[in-house]
Amino acid sequence: MIDKRVTSLPEALSGIRDGASVMIGGFGEAGSPIELIHGLIDLGPRELTVISNNTGSGRVGLAALIAAGRVAKVICSYPRSANSMVFPELYRAGRIELELVPQGTLAERIRAGGAGIPAFFTPSAVGTQLAAGKEVRSFSGRDYILEHALTADFALVRADRADRYGNLTYSRTARNFGPIMCMAARCAIAQVRRIVEPGQIDPESVVTPGIFVQRVVHVAEPVQESHLVKQGAVYP
């Protein structure tokens, strides 16, 4: 029988070692797998490359992972926000590397990684600093730049429902990068609010088919990052 459920966060995260590349879902706090991120801090791997849209807020979640000095490089589109101070400090101090990618190019590079497309041409960023050094080619009289796929060793995502096959649904705009990161990672790990029996998710409404998911862990009531930030919480 196929059963991708694991019973604890440490089990869900096992095998993430120093130097691993890790995609982390979420757009701001929506869809950010905060319990998995805290579990990753507890697990302890260093020199991670993190692929994520943002760099976290306050001193919890993704920001706490960065603050703990575990991240060597981030690949992201928007590494600052109203409550982010951890990444800016480390970045200005030259202690963390940044690859800045337009958000749509980031999404498409991840999707390409999951779909077996090694590279594609895009119009985004043509003529800007972010196109520096990239191959430019004209199609039908318009310029495009070549961008390469992103894959990762692991993806950490937050979903709403899962079954033992790893089929996932998401909640509203918390869907964001989750589905494509599951596609692009060799091991996709989902924390989910509810685990249901096979068939309880309408097969027409499955967002991430189980083939893209390797481990599912139940976190019934995830903490809310923005509440922790307001409280000034620090992890660990």
Binding site: Y78, Q103, A107, Q129, R172, T173
Partner: protein, 212 residues
Amino acid sequence: MARMVAADIPNGAYVNLGIGIPELVAGFVPAGREFILHTENGLLGVGPPPAPCQEDPELINAGKKPITAIAGAAYFHHADSFAMIRGGHLDVSVLGAMQVACNGDLANWSTGQADAIPAVGGAMDLVAGVKSVLVMTEHTTRDGRPKLLRACTYPLTGVGVVSRIYTNLAVITITPAGFAVREMAPGLTAGELQRWTDAPLHFAATPTCPRT
């Protein structure tokens, strides 16, 4: 500004409103028109802001503010969302600006200073993919320097991408000849507007009456 932008968007348009001032456009949709608002973090059909205590941290816009969804909305993932943008399916993108050049170049993501944390978000995708890019901005910087320039000095978001600029002083269209003034704030003279603007302005023979 927001009212004038909204008035220029046709019925049925698919519209992405940038973070900040552009979000105000949602409040000025003219009677009888319906726009579908897109937020690049995965929703078509953004509704009005939620009632107090009805906020859902998993239902937010690109500025990470709580929103609602209309009946007839659709959620999707980031690659699909940017397929809409890059694929030319959105009609209008309304963005803020640090600088706009008279050839339509836009700079709105970085001052290029050494200590700045660069952050680009979806702006480069929006200007590359959306059919019509409208800019809303104060006519000058806080310290009175022009933002409408012969050439941008900050790093570009896109080359020749802006269609029209809505400022507190005027509505200006980008033409092959450069900035063409379409409307001016009441009481403002052409000479005064030119003084706040770096690039030369072209004025129509008959100025359009400001809308009421």
